[in-house]
């Protein structure tokens, strides 16, 4: 049978869509393969290696046994979200019309983009940013415009934002708490963004998946709470990070009714339904008592502190302490001659530990007039470490790094 499969590669490659033709091999992909081959300890992937909470797993098991296995929309999720959003942010939403359930925040975001972005619309992203946003905007025919946050504290310069807004700007994407830096946007920064949205009549699409993972008594503030914002904000989030079930694919978008309806329509086309038993389990998850969230925060904070101490102790420059999420964006020491990719390669080979080179999170904006070698040098100096790992894993990392220290106690990978 297979002898009939004469693959005329060149002819067939003409079938690819325009973007699909531009494949290049990526240094990051090569690192990924290397890490796998070396069986490296994984501080790259942004998901826990400890078990999900028992009460939530039990709820899922119970749902499967109770035959919640056909297409469904669990309205109770919308009701719980309305309650939580009111308690956490003081926002009033209508659970019947303002919520769209989705397969994870990924789908909520994709549906939100497809629901609002027409080809040619500009969409503002803050750099560094989680890669998927740009790809999704591009898939919808939108034009991503990157506004750089300023190192070392990743602060928002209002003039940079305002300069980037044009009459074609349709939406601003805000991820807070932020991947990869762990930044939680300040009230002033949120006010700036809100002010820009209102005065320039843009939408805001937020990714708040780390909303319950904040530190040092910082509270996550939703952009939608600012004056004039609720009517123009789409909030996306999910169960994944809060309940350590990144593989369950239950998320949501909260937006004004007409936009939520549009998002729901897209969702119905893209997947039609989020996994039914996990929607049922979501009800249990969302009903978790305050102690659950306090413990979550406390445990992640202790992992954060451990990781900072460990990495700072071996020479990494950590000028910005993450205020949220479970990522640490550490800078290579000034005297380190290696780029982020080169460093991670050595980290894998010598130390058996893998993290993500930061350059993949930075984007050069062709329209920016600040692009120069000097000012963008920092883009190759950062490494993202995920500390959503068990104590055993973090200790193992400490042990491995401990074997590679020079006389000054600094990591020497050469």
């Amino acid at each position: 049978m297979n002898s009939d499969r004469v693959i005329r590669k060149e002819e067939m490659e003409g079938k690819l869509s325009r973007a699909a033709k531009k494949l290049t091999s990526s240094p990051i992909q090569e690192l990924s393969h290397l890490a796998q081959r070396c069986n490296a300890i994984n501080l790259a992937e942004g998901f826990p290696d400890f078990p999900a909470p028992i009460h939530i797993k039990n709820a899922a098991v119970s749902a499967i046994n109770s035959d919640f296995n056909q297409y469904r929309h669990v309205q109770g999720i919308c009701q719980h979200l309305a309650k939580m959003v009111k308690e956490m942010h003081g926002l009033d939403i209508d659970p019947l019309t303002d919520v769209a359930i989705s397969c994870g925040q990924t789908e909520a975001f994709a549906a939100s983009i497809f629901a609002t972005i027409d080809p040619g619309d500009e969409v503002i992203l803050f750099d560094p940013s989680y890669e998927t946003y740009q790809g999704c905007v591009t898939m919808a025919g939108g034009v991503p415009i990157h506004v750089p946050l300023d190192p070392p504290l990743w602060s928002l310069d209002p003039s940079k934002l305002l300069r980037s807004i044009t009459e074609r700007t349709k939406a601003i994407i805000l991820n807070s708490p932020h991947n990869p830096t762990g930044k939680v946007f300040t009230k002033d920064e949120l006010e700036t963004i809100a002010g820009a949205c209102c005065s320039r009549n843009c939408l805001a699409i937020t990714d708040e998946v780390y909303e319950h993972i904040t530190y040092d008594n910082q509270k996550h503030i939703s952009l939608a709470t600012f004056p004039g914002m609720q009517e123009r904000t789409i909030i996306t989030s999910s169960l994944s990070k809060t309940f350590s079930v990144t593989g369950w694919r239950v998320g949501w978008a909260i937006a004004p009714a007409s936009i939520a309806s549009a998002i729901r329509n897209i969702h119905i086309i893209v997947t039609d339904s989020a996994p039914a038993p996990f929607q049922e389990a979501a009800l249990t998850a969302l009903r978790s008592p305050p102690e659950y969230f306090e413990t979550l925060r406390r445990e992640y904070q202790s992992k954060r502190d451990y990781t900072i101490k460990l990495l700072a102790g071996v020479g990494f420059k950590i000028q910005f302490i993450p205020q949220g999420s479970f990522f640490l964006f550490a800078e290579l020491p000034d005297d380190c001659p290696l780029s982020d990719v080169e460093f991670v390669k050595k980290l894998i080979l010598k130390a058996g530990v893998v993290a993500v080179p930061g350059q993949g999170f930075f984007h050069t904006n062709l329209s920016s007039d600040e692009v120069s070698n000097a000012s963008c040098n920092y883009q190759k100096r950062y490494i993202r470490f995920a500390f959503c790992k068990s104590e055993a894993t973090l200790s193992a990392v400490s042990e491995k790094l401990g074997k590679l220290l020079d006389t000054e106690g600094r990591l020497a990978l050469h």
């Binding site: 009939d4 499969r5 004469v6 067939m12 490659e13 869509s17 325009r18 973007a19 531009k22 494949l23 091999s25 990051i28 992909q29 990924s32 796998q36 994984n42 790259a44 992937e45 942004g46 998901f47 826990p48 078990p51 999900a52 797993k57 098991v61 499967i64 296995n69 056909q70 297409y71 019309t97 397969c103 994870g104 990924t106 497809f114 609002t116 027409d118 080809p119 989680y130 890669e131 740009q134 790809g135 591009t138 898939m139 350590s244 593989g247 369950w248 694919r249 007409s258 939520a260 309806s261 549009a262 329509n265 119905i268 086309i269 893209v270 997947t271 339904s273 039914a276 038993p277 993949g360």
Partner: protein, 455 residues
């Protein structure tokens, strides 16, 4: 031209993967060029629902009159969308206490051995992100099953992508491989999300209508519609809503036209295990076809677990690449524990499939005999769990009016098929019943119709 030889661009190791370097994206590269999609070319018409159905609809899509007062508009690609007919009819069913033979999912549950596998996977801790294009063992199980079914040997790593249901396989295939303005041929009647998905991609949709009594492929019409400008044909066999199965002759015809004109085929085969009166044939297995076909399927219909959302797309690497690109941005990864269970399901012994067919054939007999006895003109359904009938003996104006009457006065739900056509007029004589219900429900529905359905 380079031949790429890559594993998928999404890798379990990193939370997100593809990187911009991987995709080669820069601001000037888009999946679509920056032009207005050709929505005006799609022959989309809003089915004529009576007012009482409209008022029970949940929130509307866009209201163009609000342009001035409501400053923020949803995207133009949504202008033709509306709440699906299924939701509307289900709401009516509840309101009138009607027996629902409209919606295409079972009222019985999946097999215990599959459910137990999912529970075990949850307890074993498989609750984090699965590899973007599928849990390795599931990809292998899919390849094994595909080989059993078609004789084709496919590479689980390079030629299989796991998605959130076949719905997402279709969405990812269309969004990953269709550019705005590309011509795509669909056979009407069709599953209602096809039109919406194609509309989202900006495709130029060309419909070819299959007509009763046997819904045969109109060869001359296909020959005159297909051309070197055609990018793809969207095929569904066994076919929802008619229950038709494309014959070998029909598939050969389609295949030769596709090869001649260099056209892709996107083949939705979710009902392939519900093939009753003839053998299911995957068009990918015909000579010259694997290299240009995306074959899509899912767990839901075969294992009565429609809410688990495990589907897949099988295609040669150069097409899989496009599917995976879109998939990475649509959902990124599919439910992890259910994938483990799906691998167990797909390795079910032949006896499972034999029994499945036997059960469904018994159900089909109950419904079809009942519908005939009541007075419908019933068209032969060779596969799927659907049957379409001509309702005109009962004297109603069109399919929507008939379905309204059926719900309110008789207490049974069917789906008006006009929603499955580009031109609703083509469907006005037909309604669709489903028999994916337990026998008691089917018998009760038939009884109600015998009692109350009047000519």
């Amino acid at each position: 031209m380079r031949v790429y030889n890559t594993t998928c661009c999404t890798h379990y190791l990193f939370r997100f993967m593809p990187s911009s370097k991987l995709l080669g994206y820069s601001n000037s590269n888009n999946f679509h060029s920056v032009i207005s999609p050709s929505f005006s070319k799609t022959k989309t018409k809003t089915p004529k629902f009576s007012s009482f159905i409209s008022t029970t609809m949940s929130t509307v899509s866009t209201d163009k009159n609000q342009t001035h007062t409501h400053p923020l508009q949803v995207a133009k690609r949504l202008e033709k969308f509306k709440t699906t007919i299924f939701t509307q009819m289900s709401m009516l069913a509840i309101k009138h206490g009607a027996i629902n033979l409209g919606q295409g999912f079972p009222n019985f549950d999946g097999p215990d051995f599959v459910k137990e596998a999912a529970i075990q996977a949850i307890r074993d801790g498989n609750n984090q992100y699965a590899r973007g294009y599928g849990v390795p063992d599931l990809n292998i199980a899919i390849a094994e099953r595909f080989k059993k079914d078609t004789g084709l040997v496919v590479d689980p790593e390079k030629e299989i992508t796991v998605t959130s249901g076949c719905t997402e396989a279709i969405a990812a295939t269309v969004l990953g491989l269709i550019n705005p303005g590309d011509e795509v041929i669909v056979f009407a009647p069709f599953y209602d999300s096809y039109e919406a998905t194609l509309s989202m991609s900006g495709a130029n949709v060309k419909g070819i209508t299959l007509r009763p009594p046997d819904f045969a492929l109109p060869i001359e019409e296909l020959k005159s519609t297909i051309s070197k400008n055609t990018r793809a044909i969207l095929l569904n066999t066994p076919h929802n809503p008619t229950g038709k199965m494309f014959t070998r002759e029909e598939l050969n015809t389609i295949a030769s036209l596709c090869i001649e004109n260099d056209v892709l085929v996107f083949s939705d085969e979710v009902y392939d295990k519900l093939a009753f009166d003839m053998e299911h044939i995957s068009i990918a297995s015909l000579p010259g076809m694997f290299e240009r076909t995306v074959t899509m399927n899912s767990l839901g219909k075969t294992f009565s677990l429609t809410g688990w959302k495990i589907g897949w797309a099988i295609a040669p690497p150069h097409l899989t690449w496009g599917v995976r690109q879109a998939h990475a941005f649509l959902t990124f990864a599919t439910s992890n524990p259910m994938q483990w269970a799906a691998a167990v399901a797909l390795r079910a012994p032949d006896s499972y499939y034999t029994e499945l067919k036997r059960d469904y054939m018994e159900k089909r007999a109950i419904l079809v005999e009942g519908l005939k006895a009541v007075g419908f003109k019933v068209f032969p359904s060779t596969g799927t769990y659907f049957v379409v009938v001509d309702h005109t003996p009962f004297g109603h104006e069109n399919d929507v009016a008939f379905c309204e009457y059926l719900v309110k006065e008789v207490g049974v739900v069917a789906i008006p098929t006009s929603v499955f056509y580009l031109n609703p007029e083509d469907g006005k004589n037909l309604v669709r019943f489903t028999f994916c219900k337990d026998e008691g429900t089917l018998r009760a529905a038939v009884e109600r119709m015998k009692e109350k359905l009047r000519k």
